[in-house]
Subunit: 74 residues, 7 copies
């Protein structure tokens, strides 16, 4: 299992729903349709969340990797 | 769909209205007329927003990529 | 219009009044007389502002690009 | 013992339970199944924690190295 | 005037009194006797200031460029 | 004495107890068994501390250099 | 005087007492016995200070340059 790599999680999550943690404490949930090596991520059907509550529907959104703290398949 | 890339969102949003999230929690809404690889972004007819409320009209504005957290087509 | 680039805004704003947003939430307004690729910026007749109020006249000022969040022609 | 290196801790913790400290003060506990040179880390059976309390079950999660502050075998 | 560059302000301020803004909101005022390309700056007869009040005399001080936000001839 | 270098302190502290300051204001105390050029540090018998009080025993811990502010032999 | 450089202050302060400002607002005072190009600094007989008050004796301490904001000969 040692040969698994962190970016495998990104690749296997393509077109699936993920939760993205952002610096500042809020999160986005949506379908991940693209990413790159900087962890820039594109979600579709995105919702912004704080403390487990949906605060806003966003549609498509590009998240800048520098602000991403974690990515979790939903 | 694996070949889609995050910057495709920027390119397809040119001359369309977008919402830009900034470090510090505020946002700008406007028509994106230019961007570069650092995610420096130029908006026209920009409005500054906080908590969903427009707080100020800004006209044209250059946003420094380092301060951008997300970009969402409106 | 795709060939427009973010730094065009800086060039076209030379010798014009601009508002500069800074990390920490305050702003400067003044006449932009110089900039470089790091977004280091020089203003003349600069005023420091917070919440839309002028808090201090500064004369000439060099703003370090690392602390700049946005630049808007006034 | 001088030839020991920090990343040895990561390697020897593969497939074991670890606690990961994150910028912002919260933590994750889970089984570390992958890491890379940037300290990007993948946990399985992850739980988010704050002040020693589990606040949320997360399943699999990719933590961005830039947000990691410490890693401790549980 | 397009050929003016931000560092010209530093050079022309050598041996003159300047105000230096620092991350965290405080400032130093003193005679700038040296600087380098990272905006590391040396002041003599430096005073630390907050909210326009002198809080401490410091004599000579080396300010790390990474913490500098602005430089203004006094 | 001019030829002494900061990393000498790390080398001479190997296998001794040190206090490590972390961004965010807390500290770790433990026996330093490894470090690297990024100031990534491994402690054994580590204790987390805040305001001089031990808040938690951690056993072995890898501290990410980016979050380290100081290292002091105990 | 234009040929003076910021690091001259470090060199001329070797084996003398200095005050070091740190991100987060606290300071260290002690005898500087080593530094490097990253502004990593070693103090002996170091004392931690906040608001002008000594809060703790530290003995020898290595300060990570990334956390240093200023250095002033005492």
């Amino acid at each position: 299992m040692a040969e698994r790599r962190p970016f495998d999680v990104l690749n296997s999550s393509l077109n699936n729903t993920v939760i993205i943690g952002m610096k500042g404490g809020y999160e986005f949930r949506g379908v991940m349709v693209a990413y790159d090596i900087h962890m820039n991520i594109v979600l579709e059907k995105a919702e912004q969340m704080r403390d487990g509550q949906v605060t806003r529907g966003m549609g498509m959104i590009l998240l800048r990797g520098d602000s991403v703290t974690f990515i979790s398949p939903s």
